[in-house]
């Protein structure tokens, strides 16, 4: 939101404070200001008067002027229609820089021109280029234009909108002036406004509220408005704030909104009947004054004139009732609408206007009347011949009332960790419009209505007001009084960290992250995904990892990747581990390294042939599959299905024996996979058994090597013979026969 320093200065004296200070103090107390820009300093013109004015022969538009700048006369050729003798103009003599170009002497239709009379656009104060700027007849000839029109020089701040979404009172200059007055400890000037009670004998403007989405509606009829152009200062201010001039009434309406934060609307009174505020049947067409067509829905709130839709409440006026160049009588609307309704409507039709942006912040219903009073005050100044033709006519379904809050002083100090000078606290709150009453133990506060719509409702809100105006820099870091307790971390964390470490450091895998959604159909979809067709919430991570595998294959060999992430299966979210490696011989070893598991061959369906279920404590927790043709082996494990304690094994470092170890090799003939042999001997137990491993495999012959030893002694040959025979017997009992 753009904010003009000139307008702020009407309400608070900010002399001696630099824009940088304003930005820094406001950012530390209230909200961010993104930056500022100084306007008008380079305005190149001086005040001059047109002494003679003649048509240039052979030209329909051009006039030849003599322009006097207080010292000498200049011959100037000008195309503006509003040139006339005696007019004071903004004159840029030759050599001045206008719109980035240095003026030289030019010949137009054969006549030399030594300078320019500037239009609003050329002066940089409006978009107007239909004629030259007409200065007041009191302007002093020869004066620099910035002295004659001091409002040309302004500092425009860019306030961060997001930071003040919860502060409806800061969406106008007057509210910001109040905030700055508090911050810089300077008085806020009262707002000049008219007394509307003197019109109470005048007829009413009939108004009917038909929907509780309209909180407050008031109207004033004003007649005989003859002024067509708004004052140059107002046009300039609006232009600097991003709004183009549209004629006096529209400019005034816009200016009031920027000044007070209260959107309002001026209807052409000649087109208005009995006003009602309510809903319209669905499917009707409504033409806005921005020339866009809106199709009505039952939720939208409309201003109606004898059942004709004349305004989309709080968002935009209607084409059919807008102010025209010949409008002399107007009905001004000052209203408050339901913020949610306005926000929904504006977002539904994709038209967020300056008005809707303010209404959706929850405006104070009392602001409407204030705005009406201000409107009449300004109208009287700008167009003394205008006539107020109605009383201030209002009706309401809701009213913003002040809120009373009491806070304990000790509580506030404990909450902040600061000892306050309470006189300063009271002074600051008073400056913000609160009515604080201090007692020995407590602080009682009545909020102003402009802070009572949603922003302030409880003690914590008041503490914020106290603390931020007192200064957050008064808070010093203090450690808590409560001692640090040793905490026990949730069980899965250590296990997951260990898995990641083993996979990356022992097995050389790369950790990847993939998206939660997938092309593979599942039970759950993202309904508003931008990526059509890839909007299923994944129930497996394999497709994503395979896709990374394939994507990198052209530029990498030996791609080894894993992800620990979340999937949703049968509506239940769970943690999965997915591994993808090129060499299938690695896979079962990797899986066994991270989880104490067995493989149940041929059950997982990961591959029609080459697959196995991963079994932990008799429970299936995942599967593996091997795709020989593409050199890819995958495993997916449901981590949440495994007892987290198993993921962090205790016995990682068994004591080695001091005595001699012996190895015994057995070659089994087996028409199956090694995993089956392993499953058998995993169950073999003998006091001298120190473990076994696959030593060699040829065709269907598997050589398994057992290590046998004792912790108590060097094994005798009869000990070795005993275990040797028992291994053979155990194999035989489980259908494993030695190669003959």
């Amino acid at each position: 939101m753009k904010i003009s320093l000139n307008i702020l200065k009407q309400f608070v004296n900010l002399d001696g404070i630099t824009p940088e200070e304003i930005i820094s103090r406001f950012s530390l107390t209230t909200s961010e200001i993104d930056g500022y820009e100084v306007k008008g300093l380079g305005a190149p013109a001086i005040v001059a008067e047109i002494k003679t004015c003649e048509k240039v022969p052979n030209s329909s538009k051009l006039s030849q002027l003599t322009v006097f700048d207080g010292q000498k006369n200049h011959q100037v050729v000008c195309a503006a229609p509003n040139v006339r003798v005696g007019l004071r103009v903004a004159f840029a003599p030759k050599g001045s820089i206008v719109a980035g170009i240095e003026l030289g002497v030019v010949k137009l239709a054969g006549v030399e021109s030594h300078g320019m009379c500037l239009s609003g656009r050329e002066l940089g104060i409006s978009t107007d280029h239909d004629g030259i700027v007409e200065l007041p007849s009191t302007s002093k000839i020869g004066e620099p234009i910035t002295k004659a029109l001091p409002f040309i020089v302004d500092t425009i701040f860019d306030f961060d909108n997001k930071g003040i979404t919860n502060r409806p009172d800061l969406w106008g200059h007057y509210g910001l002036a109040r905030e700055l007055a508090t911050i810089f400890n300077r008085p806020l000037k009262p707002l000049d406004r008219a007394d509307l009670s003197i019109y109470s004998k005048l007829p009413k403007v009939p108004v009917k509220i038909e929907s509780d989405k309209c909180f407050f509606y008031s109207a004033l009829r004003i007649e005989n408005i003859t002024r067509k152009q708004s004052p140059l200062w107002m046009q300039t201010a609006l232009f600097y704030l991003g709004i183009n001039a549209h004629g006096y009434l529209v400019d005034l309406s816009n200016y009031l909104m920027l000044e007070l934060g209260q959107p309002n609307h001026a209807f052409d009174a000649s087109k208005m009947g009995v006003i009602s505020i309510g809903h319209a049947p669905a499917g009707k067409k409504f033409m806005t004054l921005k020339d866009t067509e809106v199709t009505t829905t039952p939720e939208m709130l409309f201003i109606k004139s004898d059942e004709t839709l004349v305004g989309l409440a709080g968002v935009v006026g209607g084409k059919n009732s807008q102010i025209c160049s010949d409008t002399t009588d107007t009905i001004f609307e000052f209203a408050t609408f339901d913020p949610t309704n306005i926000r929904r409507t504006a977002s539904a039709i994709g038209l967020r206007t300056d008005a809707s942006t303010r209404f959706e912040k929850s405006l104070d219903t009392n602001l409407a009347k204030l705005c009406a009073e201000r409107t009449i005050f300004l109208l009287k100044q700008h167009d003394p011949k205008m006539r107020v033709a109605s009383r201030f006519s209002f009706t309401k379904t809701k009213e913003t009332k002040p809120i009373k809050i009491k806070v304990d002083r000790t509580y506030v100090e404990d909450f902040c960790g600061v000892k306050f000078d309470w006189n300063i606290v009271v002074k600051n709150l008073t400056a913000l419009g609160f009515a604080p009453v201090l007692s020995a133990k407590a602080l009682s506060i009545t909020t102003p209505t402009w802070r009572a719509t949603k922003d302030i409702s409880m003690g914590a809100d008041i503490i914020e007001e106290i603390m931020r105006t007192y200064g957050y820099d008064k808070i010093k870091p203090v450690p808590p009084t409560e001692a640090v307790k040793t905490v026990t971390q949730p069980p899965y964390r250590a296990g997951i960290n260990r898995i990641k470490d083993i996979l990356t450091t022992v097995h050389g895998l790369q950790e990847v992250h993939t998206y939660l959604w997938s092309e593979k159909p599942s039970d759950l979809r993202v309904v508003n995904s931008a990526i059509k067709g890839c909007d299923y919430v994944r129930d497996t991570m394999i497709p994503a990892l395979v896709s990374i595998f394939k994507k990198n294959r052209a530029s990498h060999t030996n791609i080894k990747i894993f992800e620990i992430g979340r999937v949703v299966l049968n509506g239940k979210e769970q943690r999965h581990l997915c591994i993808c490696v090129p060499d299938y011989k690695e896979l079962s070893e990797i899986v066994s390294d991270i989880i104490p598991c067995k493989f149940d061959i041929g059950k997982s369906g990961f591959h029609p042939k080459n697959n196995a279920n991963i079994i932990v404590n008799g429970k299936v927790v995942g599967g593996i599959g091997v795709y020989v043709g593409v050199d890819m082996a995958v495993a997916e494990i449901v981590l949440d299905a495994i007892d987290p304690n198993l993921l962090v094994p205790e016995k990682l470092f068994p004591m080695p024996t001091k005595y001699q170890k012996n190895t015994l090799d057995f070659t089994f003939e087996h028409d199956g996979v090694y995993g089956e042999i392993k499953n058998v001997f995993d169950k073999f137990s003998h006091k001298y058994n120190m473990g076994f491993k696959l030593k060699d495999v040829y065709k269907n012959c598997f050589t398994v090597q057992f290590t046998v030893a004792s912790h108590e002694k060097t094994l005798e040959s009869e000990d070795i013979n005993d275990i040797w025979q028992k291994i053979i017997d155990f194999g035989k009992a489980n259908s494993l026969t030695l190669k003959s």
Binding site: S27, L28, T29, T30, K162, G163, R343, E360, D414, F415, C416, G417, V418, A460, D461, E464, M467, R468, Y472, I475, P477, V478, P479, P480, E482, V484, K485, T486, Q489, P490, Y492, R493, N497, K500, L503, T504, G508, Q510, E511, H513, T514, L516, L524, R525, V526, V527, N528, A530, V537, S547, I548, N552, H556, T557, N558, I561, R566, V568, G571, E573
Partner: protein, 341 residues
């Protein structure tokens, strides 16, 4: 031989010792039991008794000196022999890498998350992990974002076909943590969050945040500032960092702040990265809103707390100067291999 002749003979012959065999021969001739020095020493009986002491000393000195010289020569001979042996090894390229090595790498997000966890664990925080899918209540209502709240518009939420949402922030986990650990606890919850927005170099629909909170009897804004400063100091690994609070607005905290820290790129002097302010915005934080405490089953009249959060993805980008946020989920193995701790 007398002493002077012996010395001459030793000097003469030791100069000719060039091999292990020479060493052996020399030792035999002079130092062994039947060697010349022993023989000389045996002649002590013919010496006048008052001169025997001096004679013995001289003999021993000769013996020791000769031994030392011989051993030194022997060491040199061995060193030369070893070098000759090693020189017969084949010449190899000692700079050559193993071909086709695969280095394991942790994802950059894992690395920064562990850093953050480690810092906060030291301060007594529990590390909790939350679901990525949340009910509307969990994601919004439970942290004081009622239906119709404008904050719901600001966050472009991914909605699911079963009516749930992909969590838009880890802040939603405040409610869970309070119910599980409340009322007195410290906890953080790192995790993945989702926003329905178009992606480009600085925007991702999938990113990581961490939420932290502390609830207790007498928690104050001064305590919040203390923790924020400690965390910042530990994360940035610098002890000269200043911090400050600025007002901000979040529905789930009151008051709400942005915490700024001294810009580490210019030490607070002002640079383009901090927009010449000398400060960089690090953590949004605030005192937990009484309604949020209430919904977490904690009595706001008895307990208070603070909450803070920040983007882990942003932290990783800052730390390694990663320019394109889309790299994190790209599965680009060159990128992922580039970040090693």
């Amino acid at each position: 031989m007398d002493i002077s002749n012996l010395k001459k003979a030793i000097d003469q012959e030791i100069a000719g010792v060039k091999t292990e065999d020479d060493v052996f021969a020399f030792h035999q001739k002079f130092l062994s039991k039947s060697g010349e020095i022993t023989k000389l020493m045996a002649g002590i009986k013919d010496i006048a008794p008052e001169k025997r002491g001096e004679f013995g000393k001289t003999c021993n000195a000769i013996k020791q000196d000769t031994e030392t010289r011989l051993f030194k020569i022997q060491d040199e001979i061995k060193a030369v022999a070893l070098r000759e042996k090693l020189m017969s090894d084949p010449l190899v390229d000692i700079t050559i890498p193993r071909l086709n090595t695969k280095r394991g790498t942790l994802h950059p997000i894992t690395i920064v998350t562990r850093d953050v966890e480690e810092v906060l664990e030291r301060m007594g925080f529990i590390v909790e992990e939350g679901n990525e899918i949340a009910t509307e209540f969990e994601n919004f209502e439970s942290i004081n974002i009622p239906k119709h709240h404008p904050a719901r518009d600001m966050q472009d939420t991914f909605w699911l076909s079963d009516g749930r949402v992909l969590r838009t922030h880890t802040s939603m986990w405040q409610n869970y943590m309070m119910k599980k650990y409340g009322p007195s606890f410290r906890a953080i919850c790192p995790g993945r969050c989702f926003r329905n927005e178009a992606t480009d170099a600085t925007h991702e629909n999938t990113f990581f945040q961490v939420e932290g909170m502390m609830v207790g009897k007498d928690i104050s804004i001064a305590n919040l500032l203390y923790f924020m400063k400690e965390i910042t100091t530990a994360l940035l690994k610098r002890d000269d960092i200043e911090v400050r609070l600025r007002p901000s607005y979040f529905p789930f905290t009151e008051p709400s702040f942005e915490m700024d820290a001294t810009c580490v790129f210019c030490d607070g002097k002002g640079c383009p990265i901090c927009k010449h302010s000398g400060w960089i915005e690090l953590f949004p934080c605030g005192m937990i809103h009484p309604r949020v405490l209430e919904m977490g089953g904690i009595n706001p009249k008895e307990y208070r707390g603070f909450a803070f959060g920040f983007g882990l993805t942003r932290l990783a980008m800052l730390r390694w100067g990663i320019k394109d946020i889309r790299m994190f989920n790209s599965g680009n193995l060159d990128f992922l291999a580039g970040v090693t701790k």
